[in-house]
């Protein structure tokens, strides 16, 4: 089965396409890095899979079910997708414990009125332990450091035991030790057969886990192949044309910029 299949996909916000003419197939269990500079459309591409950006044209299928214009995943996908957003400002308005935040990750797996069962609670505990916060389970999230709060969000996605895990910039602003810890967690998750789709600027920290790279540039796929082939330079921009590999279908150097997405 294929985890993700896009055909001539146009994805954007409102009526404005940010990503256009994208063909992409990700098989079950693959570990894919979605690379690209700021405004390239890589985040929009990922958000289109999650129903957070609008599919304006073409076909987008996730876990075998189409993502429509309704921006809402069909029932078949519920509870099978894990998502780690780029940043999470803990609202701070109403306190919540680590257990409560991570518990949300299990909710989508239950029916509309289902309650967390002992099996769900132990999945929450396992997920929190996997990110190294087992001793903070009952603490308010607001009392954790920024890096620890990010780990809570990883745990929330892991608690769902997802078939597809989408992460947006999980290593941005995270220190080296935490990046290594994250890589170890992702390696474990990947080993269980979960498909990984990681939107990122830089792949150094996760190079051992991610095997395939999809480079998005100006709203189109500029490179699709082994991660090792997607060159990255110090300016954080990817230069697939400099890798000696042929550009993927649909990419033209003279293609006018579709739009910038301002980091969305």
């Amino acid at each position: 089965m294929t985890a993700v299949r896009l055909r001539e996909a146009r994805i954007g916000y409102g009526d404005v396409a940010v990503v256009e003419g994208v063909d992409l197939t990700v098989a079950d269990g693959e570990a894919v890095a979605v690379l690209g500079s700021n405004g390239s459309g890589k985040t929009t591409l990922a958000r289109g899979l999650l129903g957070l950006a609008t599919v304006l044209g073409g076909e987008v299928e996730v876990l075998g079910a189409p993502v429509g214009r309704l921006r809402r995943p069909p029932p078949a996908q519920r509870g099978r997708i894990g998502y780690v957003p780029q940043r999470h400002t803990v609202s701070g308005a109403v306190p919540a414990t680590v257990r409560e935040v991570v518990g949300v990750g299990r909710l989508a797996r239950l029916g509309p009125f289902g309650r967390l069962r002992p099996a769900d609670r132990s999945a929450v505990q396992d997920a929190v332990a996997a990110v190294g916060l087992a001793d903070r389970l009952g603490d308010p999230v607001a009392s954790l450091s920024g890096g620890q709060q990010r780990r809570v969000l990883v745990a929330r996605a892991l608690a769902a035991e997802p078939e597809l895990l989408v992460m947006d910039e999980p290593t941005a602003g995270v220190d080296a030790a935490s990046q290594d810890a994250l890589a170890a967690v992702l390696a474990d998750v990947s080993a269980t057969g979960t498909t990984l789709l990681v939107v990122t600027h830089e792949t150094a920290a996760l190079a051992g886990v991610l095997t395939r790279a999809v480079v998005v540039d100006h709203g189109r796929i500029a490179y699709d192949g082994p991660l090792a082939g997607a060159g990255s330079t110090d300016d954080g921009h990817h230069h697939p044309e400099g890798t000696g590999l042929p550009p993927a279908r649909g990419y033209r150097q003279d293609q006018p910029r579709v739009t910038t997405d301002g980091g969305r």
């Binding site: 999650l50 957070l52 809402r72 995943p73 029932p75 099978r80 999470h88 308005a93 109403v94 919540a96």
Partner: protein
Amino acid sequence: MEVLEYGFMQRALLASLMVGLVAPAVGVFLVQRRLSLLGDGLGHVALTGVAIGVLTSTAPVGTALMAAVLGAVLIELVRARGRTSGDVALAVLFYGGIAGGVVLLSLAPRGQATNLEAYLFGAITTTTTADVAVFGAITVVVLGVVGLLGSRLYAVSDDEEYARAVGLPVLALNVVLAALVAATVVLSMRVVGLLLISALMIVPSAVAQQLARSFRQTVYLACAIGLVTSVAGTTASYYAGTPSGGTIVLLAIALFLLATTAVAVREATARRRHRRRAEVHAAHPHEHGAGCGHPAVLHGDHVDYDHDGHLHAPHRTGAGVHYDEHGEHAPPAGTGGRA
């Protein structure tokens, strides 16, 4: 007690008990979603419903409930379609609601329209037995729905985008929450009045969130605070001859100020203690590290150093090494109280 001898006060206290319990149970989700003023807006919309009820000689509670629920659903649909125009659309709906209510009430036959103030600021002693029955039904339904869907309402209020991404029915849950708010508005109408409803939903939650550690604790604590202030305020208003709504809200705000001050004082004390210890340690002959002579204590994700009976957590700053105090932690057994 004298206050309990009158039938109207029994009904008033019963109504205030239900309002005090229900309003914060719904309000916590509004605070979490940063939509604190939704209750206020729906109170405005409910006034049009009240006016329609008065004009058509039907029970205003029923028509107010219908107007508020319709307004709530409309608001959620507007919000779901896009945010930029949503703000203005809400303002139009809210002020249209209060303006429509005032104009329609003025058309009512003389004698009935004078009730306007009672709806705006509450007239708890006018609560009828039929009202109490309706309020009881609303209370059971609202608390039942919160009990059943609370964790999902929390999920959507906390991180709507995540909830959408993993496939929770976000729009449906938002509509449910808005309908709960509408029902609460109507329930609170007699007790605190349409203009003060929001306060009873928001202020107890604002107190509770400063003291609680978890969301669940916040909900329970907010309900307890709401219950106590509502019943105490109603009783006080009977003896002082003041309007119940204003009395209840002032009481809740007094509690809020008290809690805010207490938390601020506690934090200032902790900061001062930290600074004083930092001064002591500024004269430190060494930086803590391996082999500095102070026992190292593994603490979660970092190493602390047992020093003069308390723990130091060193971390580098621009100006050198800074030590956080872990004062509440007892020194590990066998090493305590080193000089």
